[in-house]
Amino acid sequence: MAEPRLLVRLKDVRVEAGLTQQELADRAGVSRKTVNTIENRVFTPSVVVALMLAKALDAPLDDLFRLSD
C-alpha cells in the first residue's frame, strides 16, 4: 500500500478568504514565514498550528490539510 501524501490547500483557502499571508499570520498568531513555508510545503506544522490556522480561516481542518487516497 502506497504511503499517503499530505495535500496542503492552505493557499487556496486563504486566497478564497481574501487574506494576505501577513493577515492570516496575524489572525492565527503565527509568523508570516510559517504561513509561507506551509504553503510552499517546506514545513509541515503541528496539529496545534494547523488548528490555529483553521480557526483563523474559519474553515474545517480537512479543507486545509488532507491525506491523498
Binding site: D26, V30, S31, T34, N36, T37, N40, V42, F43, V49
Partner: protein, 232 residues
Amino acid sequence: MDRTSENLAMSRARARLRRQRWQWGLLGLLTMAASALLAVSATMRGGYALFSMAGLGLAFLVLGLTVVLAFDLWGQREADLEAARIGGGRDHVQSAEALNLLGLAAFGLVYMVFGVEAAWGVAAGDEGLREGYRALSSLAIPVAVMAVILGRKQARRRPGALPKPADELTIFFRQDALVWAVTATLIAAAVLFVAGLFQPPLAVAGMPALFELAALTAALRYWWLDRQASRG
C-alpha cells in the same frame, strides 16, 4: 504584524527606553550609596565593630541586588533597542536573530585562528597552560552559536523582555541546521583523524577549526532557511 501595529510597537519600545534612563540613574545612585556605606563601614574602628559588620552586610546586599537589577534592566534595554529599530514583529526579530548568529559565527573565525595556533603549540609540546587556555577560549563562540541552534524551547516575545520569539518553524530550521552541522563535523573529524595519523599534532590543532566549522555551517544554514522563508 501589520505596519500600524509595528509602528505602535516601535513607539512603545522608545517610550520604555526613555523610562529606563531614570531607572539606570536610580541604580547608579543606589550603587553610589552602597559604595559609600561600604567605605564608611570598612573604616569604622574601636567599639563600632557591630555597626561596621551590619553596614558591610547591608552594603553588599544592596550591591548584589543592584547587579541583579542591572542585568534585568540590560536585558530589557537590549530587547527594546531591537524593537525600536526593527519594529518587534516576530518575522523581523527572527530574521535579525539569524543574521546576528551568522555574524557571531563569522567573527568566531578570528578566534579560531588564535585557537589553532595555540593548540598547535600545546600539541607539539612547545607551549604550556597559558596557550591551553587560549586554545580553550576559542571554543566560546562556537559553543554560544550552537547553544542557540540546540534551543528547543518555544518562547514568545513579551514587550521589553528577552528571549527571542522561537516558534515551531524556528525550531524546525534549527533542527535542519543541526543536521547540516553534524554532517560537516563528521566529515571534518574524519579528515582530521586521517591527518592526525600522519601528523598527530594536527588532530589536536584542528579541533578549534572543527568546532568553528560546525557553528558556521549551522549558522549559515539557519540564516539561509530564514531568508528563503522570508521570500515569496
